[in-house]
């Protein structure tokens, strides 16, 4: 059992948990993730590690309500426990002094991008960060990203905060202005990562993305997280999760992440039915019903 020390919504449907996990806290490096299972009948899902405190023996995870498991998770609060948390999984980000690095975080992906961005900054890079979200409320970790970045740009799809548009608009501007970019790191929805890859490919800018396929064990056993890299199967849990964006087959990733859409919708519908009858508490959500009952359009793989 892994105890939740603190839990707080960062945005509607996006919650940060501080979890007692001393072994993981001691070993966590940027770019890595955990897999968790909330209760005995629960599924295993990969979740972003946003930060860790080896001294206190805690890790911070950030979770967006997408399907049943993430809604259930986000209904938990301090004092509750999570049955299983295993990690840190995946290879850490390759941190070095590249020169100028652009880190792109889309939506909840910003939580995954943040520790990598901070580490790249500490390694001496000039750090330009681009954070995108659907709207003002969904911009997360702005303060943290601002502190660590030399330049921070924010976009919202609807223009309700900062600049209206997409993260790729900002990246395009940087490239068009002739800014020197030695590395781009992009973490976010698959469409965003693909758009970034398509933009940097003709410019021959080395680009790394953190992939989020469906995963079960996450330890190099089941092979469920296989992704197509240069036409060959690789495994996000041991070969990734970060890959050279220009070699990734994003279409296959989208297709495979949709494999259980029907089951996910069924789970979500039943969960909503139960919560509507007063099953699980949602009271601590700042936007109450909205956060708990947001329609499920995503997939199991989209937590990271």
């Amino acid at each position: 059992m892994f105890k939740i020390i603190h839990a707080q919504f960062l945005a509607p449907g996006i919650k940060r948990f501080v979890i007692e996990a001393p072994r993981i806290a001691r070993k966590q490096k940027p770019g890595q993730f955990v897999i968790l299972r909330i209760y005995e009948e629960g599924e295993r899902i990969p979740v972003t590690i946003e930060n860790s405190d080896p001294e206190r023996g805690t890790i911070n995870i950030v979770v967006q309500s997408v399907g049943k498991t993430t809604h259930l998770l986000n209904s938990l609060t301090s004092g509750d426990s999570i049955l299983d948390v295993v990690g840190p999984l995946g290879k850490p980000s390759e941190i070095a002094n590249y020169g100028t690095v652009v880190v792109v975080g889309g939506g909840v992906g910003t939580a995954m991008a943040y520790p990598t961005a901070a580490a790249l900054k500490r390694a001496g890079n000039r750090l330009i960060s681009i954070v995108g979200a659907r709207n003002k409320e969904l911009v997360i970790l702005e303060k943290e990203m601002r502190v660590t970045s030399d330049v921070l740009m924010i976009t919202t799809d609807d223009g309700s905060y900062a600049d209206k548009g997409f993260v790729t608009d900002k990246l395009r501007q940087l490239i068009q202005n002739g800014a020197r970019i030695d590395l781009v790191v992009a973490v976010g929805p698959i469409v965003m990562m693909k758009a970034v890859a398509d933009m940097t490919r003709p410019e021959r800018i080395h680009t790394v993305v953190s992939l989020n396929p469906i995963m079960i064990d996450g330890t190099g056993m089941c092979g469920g997280c296989r992704v197509l890299i240069d036409g060959k199967s690789q495994f996000a849990c041991v070969d990734g999760p970060e890959f050279d964006a220009h070699r990734v087959d994003f279409a296959v990733l989208v297709q495979r992440n949709a494999m259980y859409r029907d089951a996910e919708q069924q789970s979500m519908a039943e969960y909503q039915g139960r919560t509507a009858e007063g099953g699980r508490p949602c009271a601590d959500a700042p936007h109450g019903e909205h956060a708990c009952l947001a329609a499920s359009s995503g997939t199991q793989g989209e937590q990271r």
């Binding site: 070993k27 599924e43 049955l83 299983d84 190099g220 469920g224 296989r226 039943e270």
Partner: protein, 482 residues
């Protein structure tokens, strides 16, 4: 192999023993069991067990034991069954095998003890596996186990992985007085015994029972620890104070054929397919949250001919598959699966397509599998494995409509421990190098065995490695010599 002259507890004269037929294992009817996950074999009654045990010729030179990877004293435990001393028989097995209820069910006896049984030259071999299972189950039912009591040595051993080899090491070393802690990456203990082997062949309660016994003996377990990631081998030894480490991390990532369409939705690795069912209980969705594709009425094929392949396709059948195929590129004679499983699968209506291999998977244009193009094979000259090499027959291609295909063609080495342990030698395929005799690796105090050393093999071979490792770990801890 001459029958012994010593006074036997077996009242049946040697000459008469061969006339007793091998006692049939009671089992669920094929039509019934094809629709449930309950165990296929129901187990001998005491009466059946004693009748079967009476068939043993009690060879002075017991080739059955010589061919057992853990060296179970077969003639001795069988004689105790004849005498009705079932608990003593169980204790006799436990001297060499800490997991008898498991090996009695999943060991390929035809390749080991029963394959060398003298009876088998004339009639059917002694049902050693069935007898082992009987006494292990009897012992469990009686609930009267004798816990060994040994003085503690003060030495501590970390075991990485709670599969059959790790559990064997733990069980053997705890009985030598060492403190043993087993680290498991998954949330449940048992390794391949829980994520790989289905309920109908090895019920989870059997594994839980064996684990409880180990706990009672003092073995400690810690789940959710991926050694190499959560803690390294060096940290275990230098910071957590373990005197020796045994690496039994098991089989790694699944292999794929590299043919077009393998990434389609509907193409599973056997590991993933079985993990969803066995570990995550996806077949109980939505009571359990982990989903899997609905197989009801669908055409499902497994590619491969090993135990994993049969476990996968028989699970698919139980989940309602309309057609369930085994596609194997060699003939039935070369299939690595346990012979009993092949028979059971045939009885259940699995459609075996031998000497056949897929060359391409087709999609509906939206990313979902709709079928496979297959080619027929013939057997040519023997290859490196000693088996005759399958060769495609030109122009023999045909199409098979499929909704789900399960790849069960082997695994590669899991790299996590090797890449995070400096100085740990690996071979060119990425497996850990360990002495065949002592299971010592290239790192002092670090031992390894099972699939992470040999590549995918069987439960009993992994246990054999565990047995050798436990012996040499004990020697190392006692003498300090490397």
């Amino acid at each position: 192999m001459t029958p012994t002259a010593k006074k036997s507890l077996n009242p049946v004269p040697i000459k008469e023993r061969m006339k007793i037929p091998r006692q049939t294992m009671p089992e669920q009817a094929p039509q019934q069991r094809a629709h449930n996950f309950n165990e296929v074999n129901l187990g001998y009654s005491a009466e059946l067990a004693q009748q079967e045990a009476q068939r043993c010729l009690e060879c002075a030179k017991a080739t059955c034991s010589d061919n057992c990877p853990v060296g179970v004293k077969v003639t001795e435990f069988v004689e105790l069954i004849v005498a009705g001393k079932f608990l003593e028989a169980a204790a006799k097995i436990r001297e060499d095998n800490v997991l008898p209820a498991i090996t009695g069910r999943v060991c390929p006896q035809e390749d080991h003890c029963e394959g060398k049984c003298l009876l088998g030259k004339k009639v059917k071999p002694l049902g050693i596996g069935y007898l082992e299972r009987f006494v292990a189950d009897y012992e469990q039912k009686m609930g009267s186990r004798v816990l060994p009591s040994v003085p503690p040595t003060g030495k501590r051993v970390a075991v990485v992985g709670s599969g059959p080899s790790g559990l064997t090491v733990a069980g053997d070393l705890i009985q030598k007085g060492h403190k043993v802690r087993v680290f498991e990456a998954l949330h449940e203990l048992g390794g391949v015994l829980v994520y790989g082997i289905p309920e109908f062949r090895l019920p989870k309660r059997i594994i839980r029972e064996q684990l409880n016994y180990m706990r009672e003996m003092g073995v400690e377990f810690e789940t959710d620890v991926v050694v190499g990631r959560t803690v390294t081998i060096d940290e275990l030894m230098n910071e957590e104070g373990y005197d020796a480490v045994y690496i039994g991390t098991g089989a790694g990532l699944p292999q794929f054929m590299g043919i077009p369409g393998e990434h389609l939705n509907g193409v599973y690795s056997a590991n993933e397919f079985l993990t969803r069912i066995n570990l995550m209980k996806a077949y109980k969705f939505p009571v359990y949250d982990e989903p899997m594709l609905d197989l009801r009425g669908k055409n499902v094929a497994v590619i491969g001919g090993g135990n994993t392949a049969l476990d996968a396709i028989r699970s698919a059948l139980r989940l309602g598959a309309g057609k369930a195929y085994v596609i194997y590129r060699r003939s039935e004679a070369e299939m690595p699966a346990r012979i009993e499983e092949v028979h059971h699968a045939e009885q259940e209506g699995i459609d075996f397509r031998m000497l056949t291999a897929p060359v391409e998977f087709f999609s509906d244009g939206k990313g979902w599998l709709t079928g496979a193009r297959c080619v027929r094979m013939e057997l040519g000259e023997p290859d490196a494995s000693g088996r005759r090499r399958p060769v495609p027959i030109a122009g023999s291609e045909f199409d098979l409509p499929l909704s789900v295909a399960i790849m069960a063609i082997g695994t590669t080495a899991n790299p996590i421990v090797q890449t995070t342990t400096p100085g740990l030698g690996t071979n060119k395929r990425g497996y850990i190098v360990a002495s065949e005799e002592t299971q010592r690796t290239t790192r002092k105090g670090v031992f390894a065995g099972g699939d992470i050393v040999t590549g995918a093999a069987t439960v009993i071979l992994a246990m054999g490695a565990g047995r050798r490792a436990a012996k040499s770990i004990h020697e190392y801890l006692t003498t300090g010599e490397w």
